[in-house]
Symmetry: C2
Subunit: 318 residues, 2 copies
DNA sequence: GACAATATGCTCAATCTGAGCATTAGTTGG
DNA sequence: CCAACTAATGCTCAGATTGAGCATATTGTC
């Protein structure tokens, strides 16, 4: 006879604007944050997605539009917090299915134990909009290298992994490798969750401004997966428009993309690419100024471009 | 109290050569084929991947190298075959986690109820190496359009979906949209599995040479997911080398890629791209001829190119 | 009216792509 | 041994794309 299984559904609900990208986080007990989540009900939920929508709605009041599955985590040892499993049998095995959802704005969450939080609070090393964060080279890299060198036979592999992930030793920084970076920090004990899960001993204790705010259970891992996926996808599918308001100026749109990517883009080339893609159209309305020449408002041309439309978002600036 | 859950693990093990791409299929009872699969054991398996490897090994004798998770299916109604669930409670909910594995050759499966099968047996419309298969326009497209037009209010959306997926009405054929194509054929009842699952009535009965060989439970859906994923990935990650032998000529490698993509590539440009990528190196050995000028054998340069290496496989031929 | 602050336009060289022609090095049949 | 044939490999070229930077247009402010 198989022993019981419980399936947790977790949602990374993302919003973004000119200033940053945000996740919908829930407060659990103290000030620990987690993702909206709950158990899949095999009797009641027809699909995972419907179950997920239920939970998000119940915990945050938000009704997700676009939703996609990210990954299913099943490793023993990185599971749901005990407290959330009151109903489940004590010997149950915990599986966790992560989802990504996009929100065109940040709706009010008053009345719910939920807040919109800057996702770079959780991953400070991921924000390169103001240049490569110093902590990478001053703090993280040395710790990673210590860990790598302690790896015995696997040391060379570890050095390679760390270099490729964090852009060390001449390797380029690739924004979509968010999960790999987080996993490395977890493995080497820098992520506070590692100490909590007792997968490492005598882990260094560093401030959240460097190692990021921890999350419940494996939620930060799911968040990292979501960021990586979104960063990859935004380059070849018109997903920004799920995050942008109805009307936007081109620069607003660019900054929204930059918030997601965590890096700056060359303005004129961003426009050129967008132009060629045919994804947006001018509205004839102009922004009533904030300083300089008024920017025209554009809107997304839904449909049409069944798939042709791609924002060649590439060209980095600076 | 939650009702019981069982998790099925299914593996798409892929191999490819100059002639075609293959999947490792298992025979279950009659001549129905399925993927190697089995139930996840929450007590015994530390991770999904380990459980999966156990099952594949036990059912086919093959030990997968490269493995990656594809997707977790949880819809009620498209579940595991009853027979495989003898041990599970009658009211259990069935979840299915699909994996993709790659094999550098097709090892012998004698002694096991498993065979390597051409994946285009399952998806005849996916092979465009000899030109666009006629059945798409003569048989599938009309059926899809009938179904679309019967969609009432959703008719326009259905027409769009079908057009974008199958390259109708001027839309381009995009090889990685394999899953979408299969799902459409399932929805419109052309895939025999739909009739079996009783999701449609009076479905047309067509030969397997047109609608492809059916598979157990949702295995063909998982296979479609795998093909799509692999086709996408082969363009930006050096995965072909997981499928190629130690030594290969450039044309063999190209044909292996073509087998996966289901389309032909421009030879000289394929070489140029490969050349620039720095992924391969000449061995100095030559093929002892099959007709013309002998081709040099190359080998994959593992490692090094931490991620830079990309085969700009794009340029289609013909 | 000069200046600051933006948005938007335009240019240019370097590189990349898609496509095709040309040459090389074998095999095979007289 | 030569001619014909088959593949592999080499090379060229125009057009498109990309990365970068300079130039101009419109506002509000002092």
């Amino acid at each position: 006879m198989t022993s019981p299984i419980v399936i947790g559904l977790s949602a990374v609900i993302v919003a973004a604007d000119e200033s940053s990208a945000y996740v919908l986080a829930t407060r659990h007990g103290g000030d620990a944050t987690g993702l909206p989540h709950g158990l899949f009900d095999p009797a009641g939920h027809r699909t995972f997605e419907l179950g997920l929508r239920d939970w998000v709605q119940a915990q945050t009041g938000f009704e997700p539009g676009y939703v996609e599955q990210l990954y299913t985590f099943g490793d023993r040892g990185r599971e749901l917090p005990r407290a959330d499993l009151a109903e489940a049998p004590a010997d149950a095995r915990h599986i966790s299915v992560g989802y990504l959802g996009l929100a065109p704005e940040r709706p009010d969450t008053t009345g719910f134990d939920a807040i919109w939080r800057d996702w770079y609070d959780y991953f400070p090393w991921e924000d390169h909009r103001g240049g490569r964060p110093q902590m990478i080279d001053t703090t993280l890299a040395p710790l990673l290298m210590d860990w790598a060198n302690a790896g015995g036979a696997t040391a060379p592999r570890r050095v390679n992994r760390a270099s490729a992930a964090f852009g060390l030793n001449g390797a380029p920084w690739l924004e979509e490798r968010t999960l790999e970076r987080y996993e490395l920090l977890y493995e080497c004990g820098v992520a506070p969750e590692a100490a909590r899960d007792e997968t490492v001993e005598d882990a260094p204790r560093l401030p959240a401004s460097i190692v990021g705010a921890p999350m419940l259970s494996d939620h930060r891992r799911i968040l990292a997966t979501a960021i990586g996926r979104l960063r990859g996808k935004i380059k070849y599918r018109p997903v920004v428009f799920e995050l942008a308001p109805e009307r936007f100026t081109l620069f607003q749109l660019q900054q929204t993309v930059e918030s997601i990517l965590g890096g700056l883009l060359h303005k004129q080339n961003f426009r050129r690419a967008l132009d060629k893609s045919g994804l947006v159209e001018a509205t004839g309305q102009f922004e009533t100024s904030t300083g300089g020449r008024p920017a025209e408002y554009y809107r997304y041309r839904r449909g049409e471009h069944a798939l042709g439309g791609v924002i060649g978002v590439a060209t980095p600036r600076k």
